[in-house]
Amino acid sequence: MIGSEAAVVRRHLVVAAPIDQAFTAFTARFGEFKPPEHNLLQAPIAETVFEPRVGGHIYDRATDGSVCRWARILTYEPPQRVVFSWDIGPTWQLETDPQLTSEVEVRFVAEGPNKTRVELEHRNLDRHGPGWQSVSDGVGGDQGWPLYLARYAALLEAEG
C-alpha cells in the first residue's frame, strides 16, 4: 500500500521579510504567485482571492465572471499558520466531497526581524485516490484542461 510519507509534499524556504509581511504575502497576494496554468475555469483568471477567515475560500474569478472555489480555509492564525483544503482531484477537476480532498498547512516562523522561515505541508494526498473516486464523481464537462495541461507540460519540458 501507499505509505503516508508518499502522500505528503513538504517544502520550506526562508524569505527576507518580517513574519507579518511573509504571512500577508502568502494570503492576500496568493494570486500573484500561483502558477497561472493552475486554472479550472474556461476563461483566463482575472483574480484569485484568499478570503482571510475560517470558513472562507480561495477562489479564482475568470474574465468571463465565472468563479471556482477550490479551497476551504480551515485554520487562519495570522501571522503564524494557515490551513486550507485542496478540493481538486487528480485530473484537476473540482472535488465536491470533502472526504476526498487533501489539505495544505503553511507555518511561518520568525528567524529574525527581516527573516522568516516558511514551511509548507500538503498532506493526505491519498484521500484523492488510489481509486480515483474523485474522477468518476467529479464535476463533468469540458473545463478547458486540454489547453492548460498542454501549456503546463510544454513549460515543464522547456524547463527540463
Binding site: 509534499v9 502558477p35 493552475h38 494526498l125 485516490g129 498542454a150 507540460a153
Partner: protein
C-alpha cells in the same frame, strides 16, 4: 527527472478521451473491448490511448486468460504527489519574490 514524469502525467490527461478512459477504469478494471463499448471511439484508438496512459504510469495492464485487463495504477497517488511537488516548487519560488518586495502600502 521528476518534473518530466509529472509532465507526462499531465500531458496524458490533456485529452478528453483519455480522461474518459481513466473515468471508466476508476469504476473497475476493464479490457480494451469493454472500454471501446462505452466510448465513442474505435477499439484501436482506445488501445493507443491506453498506451499513452501506461507510458505515463497512470494505468497498468495484466493478462487474464487471453485478455488484457487494464486498471488504474495505485502509484497514481505518487504521480499526483509529483505534480503537486512541482506546483509548490514553482509557487513558492514566485512567492519568495512577492514576499520580499517592500509592501506597496503600510498595513
Amino acid at each position: 527527472m521528476v518534473t518530466n514524469q509529472a509532465g507526462d502525467g499531465w500531458s496524458a490527461l490533456a485529452d478528453g478521451t483519455r480522461r474518459a478512459i481513466v473515468d471508466c477504469l476508476a469504476q473497475r478494471p476493464q479490457a480494451v473491448g469493454q472500454l471501446a463499448e462505452q466510448l465513442p471511439v474505435s477499439r484501436s484508438a482506445v488501445s493507443q490511448h491506453l498506451k499513452v496512459l501506461k507510458d505515463a504510469g497512470l494505468v497498468s495492464e495484466q493478462a487474464v486468460g487471453t485478455r488484457r485487463i487494464y486498471r488504474l495504477n495505485p502509484a497514481a497517488v505518487a504521480a499526483l504527489r509529483d505534480q503537486l511537488d512541482t506546483f509548490w516548487q514553482r509557487a513558492l519560488a514566485a512567492y519568495a519574490q512577492v514576499a520580499e518586495q517592500a509592501p506597496e502600502e503600510d498595513s
